[in-house]
Symmetry: C2
Subunit: 166 residues, 2 copies
DNA sequence: CGCGAATGGTTACAATTGAAACTATACTCC
DNA sequence: GGAGTATAGTTTCAATTGTAACCATTCGCG
């Protein structure tokens, strides 16, 4: 098939300055994916942990005895993802599960000794990656980043809720 | 099963201040996913476009007559993802494909009139979402964000390359 | 030329993820 | 107490995505 010469040069639509490299949602996605693959690759290689599993471990290290839905709330995962991550962590004996006496639907999750040991080794690794990444920013830029991420997330969540409700 | 009372209170490991809500890679991931779902939901509902398809359209609108690998380079997608997105766009007649005379492996991709029309309608929509998201930041904060994202991505990519090579 | 390596792109298969249905337990309130 | 609804969590099935293998064509070079 032949295509006629294009009428649509690279600088053609001057009214619509959408350029992917300047589009913040796209750039956030590329940055987030690059960082996640970098760090998750390390968890994976060294400890056989998926990102969801690592998130569950991280939150249980701080807040033992959460239920699965509480873990979901604190990790921005849905309950299916938590269920699967927990199943894997039970299989590898890194998490212990009991059930609430008063409400037998609720599980009570806690790291085993092995799980705590994994956490003790993964957490410094994760923090070193974060530190190396942030090393290209000044201390004050790091504070600004913190503030910007916070504001943007609040706004994005409020936008998502408004769309969902309407 | 019974669990003994935990020895591991919420403030227990003071040496390892890894708290998911403070961990930049995690926060980037949550922000990026929230924003992507918000905007991609709109493309999907209104135009039946997936994110990869939208990216291909956006780049072809600016740079017609790219090959698939060139599209991949400009969209941070791999060639399989591009192949699938292009296939969908050919099916929906939003993209035209020819082949290079000199090198018959190379495809030459261009938006059809329908594809351009989709772009003309999606681009403003995407830009309005971006604008609304960024409306919580001052103009100077927006410039800072731009700079921070750029630096962080460069650093993340250099870290990824170093790990990959070694 | 012609053979091996490289490139552009697709296909096939496996692993991951998402959405909906489902089970079990608990709560509401008549 | 019991019907109807809500909640916790799992399972199932489909869709998406990732990886590797695979064609076809072209390039490098003896």
């Amino acid at each position: 098939m032949e295509l006629a010469p294009s009428m649509n040069a690279a600088d053609d639509p001057p009214d619509n300055p959408l350029h992917l490299d300047r589009f913040i949602p796209y750039r956030l996605s590329v940055l987030s994916n690059t960082v996640s693959m970098l760090i998750a690759g390390a968890y994976e290689r060294e400890f056989g942990l998926s990102i969801p599993q690592w998130r569950v471990i991280a939150v249980l290290a701080r807040y033992p005895d959460l239920s699965a839905v509480e873990v979901a709330e604190r990790t921005a995962m849905d309950k299916v993802a938590v269920s699967r991550a927990v199943q894997g962590l039970l299989d590898s004996k890194r998490v212990l599960r009991a059930y609430d006496k008063g409400d037998r639907r609720r599980s009570i999750l806690r790291l085993s000794a092995a799980g705590q040991s994994v956490y003790q080794r993964v957490a410094p690794l994760a923090l070193r990656y974060e530190e190396e990444l942030l090393s290209v920013l000044s201390a004050s830029d790091q504070r600004v980043l913190d503030r910007l991420l916070h504001r943007l997330l609040e706004k994005a969540q409020s936008m998502a809720i408004i769309r969902a409700v309407q």
